[in-house]
Symmetry: D2
Subunit: 357 residues, 4 copies
């Protein structure tokens, strides 16, 4: 109810602040007999962690995960899995000068309003550092999905005006921008050089692709699969728009071109994004997420403080010029968590229904 | 879990099929001592019901609501409110010829896959007729919000290439298109004349605006207010994209222009759409939803049937050329239901925190 | 959250007041393809309804149920099942004289405190009449359980000092007391004659037996199967104690006699009541519930009113001398609802685990 | 859904096995601005921990708790509180000889059936060691309740045939049996001397008392306060019966003596146990729980193994002769967690209702 748990059957509960002692999670509802080891999780955490390229924040965190329970002799037992990552590089001093000030574009103002108290160090719980445990949970979700033949992938497809011509997920790990089209890397390098010099930041668009999912997953009406995915991905910091299949562009389309004709070999087009009536149709699910530019930039500005006075603001600390770059494994994790949860719900709903797999 | 309940504290549970006996709902968690009468609900249902203009389906339904419980001597008692609307104009015969066929763009295929059985009459539970009870529930949510000074409004802002120049919510009820800019009505009339002649349909974009909401509402991390709104509105039939404040356009923006500077008089801009870190900041919340064109058009096509054979399809029945037109009260209802639920959750979380109202 | 929904996967939501327009329910999460008709439900309602013998209240209600949705051509479709029973014999006049008075042993005082308003007619939502929809929901749960070989039965085993010597569930429908030992019927008749003459009421103990349940159902730690059953049965009006297997008597037992030795043919004794560590062990589940005597008796008394003044109270209306008699189908229903819900949860948790059936 | 989370608003999620690396918990939904320090929690853990007297298991565990998040400068911030206790004395070797055998009265058999795999060391997740985190969570719940004037206390009132004559909660901490009547201590010492010599164990009855709770807390129908308490306390290992106020004894009572007459000074008796219609009435809440004798005793027996063969069983390890003794702080914790959760739910339901406090 207070928002730190994701999922209904495969449930991820997380805790921890940016500059607190540790980040942690509990996964309750992971099926038994799944082979899991810390390396599976570490591999995903390493994709997310800071300092991976010169275009992301240089905070030094090893993000070393410890599995505390729920796995016995290399396999899940059906009991809750406890995960822990201790913070190491928490330079809280950086934040003393802004402890009473509200940074624009951040949750400082709203946390103060809501709770009447806040941990101001690095954004506290509202920091993107909170996503470490999303990725850890997603790593376990991916292991279960893998057994069921479902693959979740993501990649940046647009940064500012630079748009990918093609979506090659194999390109993603091979460039500093997690971009799905390596032919744009040179242009991106030049653009970022300029951007960093300007002490500014930029938005990004990310495609998330889910393949191998059988038809029948998702609950109609209020918990449609697209609705659950929209919530899941919108909950990631900086995400401002979600499109399922043909999204905003469907406003200008006619029904005769938008409806996906069904043939004996499957759907002829995929404007639906793989979901009809809130239920997976067996086609690829494609979700497009738009992320705003990082709000913390080095340019000075004015803002207000806790006493509603006008004050100068200079944000130090270490920030990403484009939060989109590091969002790729996080969005993959959220999509994976959503899909496995919905697949398990479907088992409870329709356990006796025979499906073509 | 099976998707027919919305909300956690103010909970709406709905039932009923397009061509079944009745549609109904239970609202559990409505605060006590709220003045409610059937007219409040009927007024909203009448905004949604078919046959209101020549641009919408002509199915004849009075959509007369009956309040069965939870209201005593004109006031809510805190016990669940039962609502009922009986179906009258259910011409099931129209659907006999497509009982084994899967209409493109509809949930026929996926319901059959999921459940192994389906009520094919008019889309059954997947019909837009399901939204009657969303609107009824939303009418009650609005009554509670009204007491708290919160107003929820919506209007169509784009149909095909016709885009509103301004967003005047007072225009909405004064034209056949629920459009927020009456200067476009003539152009829309011409466009629809053409569209109907073509036996085709068109997409639409709708703005939903929430004003008067105090800061502090929303739960961080996985249940951010924007995430809950995204889920809520994406669950409405035909919605394909959700943007909160500056959405897709934030991809091409820089941080220096996107972050909303805070002054002693409030936020200088509203790119955030009234939500920061998942919590309301006191500004207007603006959500933009993109709806696909109606999939059921009169143009003939081919499709598959339950035995995966290619078959001809001619959809009769009565359909809207633009589902967006009738979505306005539905999206308002969903936004209202989300906001009241989140306000009540906030009461439980932070009941002792003093807020500036 | 407001307490009118039972279950997590197989969810029953009910509404309606004793002297309101109707009682109703929504069952969301019933598996598809289950054969259901109104007679299945009516049969159970008829077991509960008033006026069945001279030892129960004589209120005249036909309790005729209408299935409004979720069933198509005789089978469930996986969509929510709407149920309705209209009230007919609501003599609200009987209650005018006590509208401001708090009847002892009833919820009058606490509803007024909680909500600041209450429907005083016949106890409103707090009336035992609320259980009509528990029984209707339970009837559907039983249909699903039947397919899985699970049988739920209950019977009165003690009334006052009259204790059953044996537990024959086949006796239950054959006497006016729903008693599991027909040899006690004569004694009961004599006892009730006296009781009614005294204008008094008496407590009762009911055994609920669940047979045919496979091992493995139930979720450890906070949602143990025994914990869920305790909540479920304790939620029925007048229930004051729950024992699982050997309950209160285990206080005086030694471990050497209490632990149920396991042999290759099964458990040698069943002190556990069929549940170990919160999970079914394949043995019969036995639950013992103690019900208090009816609080509404014809004897005059004093009480307080809404202004906390001392007032005389004479409760008219039509009341049961022993609420236990009519609780039998209600407790069966609650047990059935609990078990089917837990079986479906188990499907989601452990769908790949092979069980000996 | 998998049972490791307790509560709806004030949510406790726990993880950890008896002989695993650590036990941990997340509390999500604790109100902000509550003063908490590790000593508050440690004090309660020390009441529960083994080795406190010669009548309990001698396993050596310091049960030192670490608060990982959610508390900033000594106060809760409204973000989730992470808690960790590392296991130190886990002599797994003791369990190698029973790894394939099912101990009677334990969850070995049912975990193996349910999950197809289990951590056999010390009962794994099914061990009473799991309750460490219940007590830690309960300690925080108590801090919040304290601010609201609510006190939760418990004590043993019966062991075997030795029954307390009076219920003095101040006696509890002053004897080795957590007994509410110190006049029985000598008798208990003699009884336990015999019991330990016999290598046997004994059941116990515990009273839980909640005072200072305002009227109005609890949700009618399925989530009655008594139902929630029954679930909560029944979920504690070894609990076999729950009575609310006058429980099993109400079976033989008449309505004229059982109904609690209301006077202008309050209820004249308290057979209801402080709850009417599922809602607190302002009186003390009294709950009586019956616990079975420890199933693990040193006496040899036979049992079955994973291949359903008859085998000899000799349970070594370190066990309590009466689990009831150490259950006192655990039951207090569960009652405290239930009450704070229900109080917060009530805030959401009835925030505008004015109550006499």
């Amino acid at each position: 109810m207070s928002g730190n748990t994701f999922g209904k059957i495969f449930k991820l509960t997380t805790f921890g602040e940016s500059h607190g002692i540790a980040l942690g999670a509990v996964i309750d509802g992971c099926p038994p007999n799944i082979e899991i080891n810390e390396l599976d999780i570490q591999k995903e955490l390493d994709r997310r962690k800071p300092g991976q390229s010169k275009y992301v924040t240089q905070r030094k965190e090893s993000d070393k995960v410890e599995v505390l329970s729920g796995v016995f002799e290399g396999k899940t037992t059906g009991t809750p899995i406890g995960l822990l990552v201790r913070n190491t590089d928490h330079k809280s001093k950086d934040y003393e000068n802004i402890k009473d000030k509200f940074r624009p574009g951040h949750a400082d103002f709203t946390y103060q309003q809501k709770y009447g108290i806040r941990d101001f160090r690095g954004g506290g719980r509202a920091s993107a550092r909170e996503t470490v445990m999303r990725v850890a949970g997603g790593a376990i979700a991916k292991k279960v999905l893998e057994k069921k033949g479902v693959i979740v992938r993501a990649g940046v497809m647009q940064i500012g005006d630079i748009v990918a011509d093609s979506h090659n997920f194999s390109d993603v790990s091979k460039n500093d921008f997690n971009f799905v089209d390596k032919s744009k890397v040179k242009a991106l390098e030049n653009f970022f050089k300029e951007l960093i010099k300007d002490q500014d930041s930029i938005g990004a668009k990310i495609i998330v692709n889910i393949s191998g999912l059988q038809p029948g997953v998702g609950s109609p009406v209020f918990s449609k699969l697209d609705a659950e995915l929209a919530k899941s991905l919108m909950s990631v910091n900086a995400v401002k728009a979600i499109e399922i299949g043909t999204g905003v562009d469907s406003v200008t389309m006619r029904g005769s071109e938008n409806r996906d004709i069904i043939s004996v070999d499957g759907f002829e087009t995929n404007n639906s994004g793989g979901i009809l009536g809130g239920i997976s149709n067996g086609d690829d699910i494609n979700i497009f997420t738009s992320l705003k530019p990082t709000s913390s930039i080095s340019q000075k500005t004015t803002t207000t403080n806790i006493d509603n006075q006008k004050v100068d603001l200079e944000v130090k600390g270490r920030h990403d010029p484009c939060v989109g770059l590091r969002a790729v494994p996080i969005l993959e994790a959220m999509a994976a968590l959503t899909i496995i949860d919905q697949m398990l719900i479907d088992k409870a709903q329709c356990f006796d229904v025979e499906r073509k797999s």
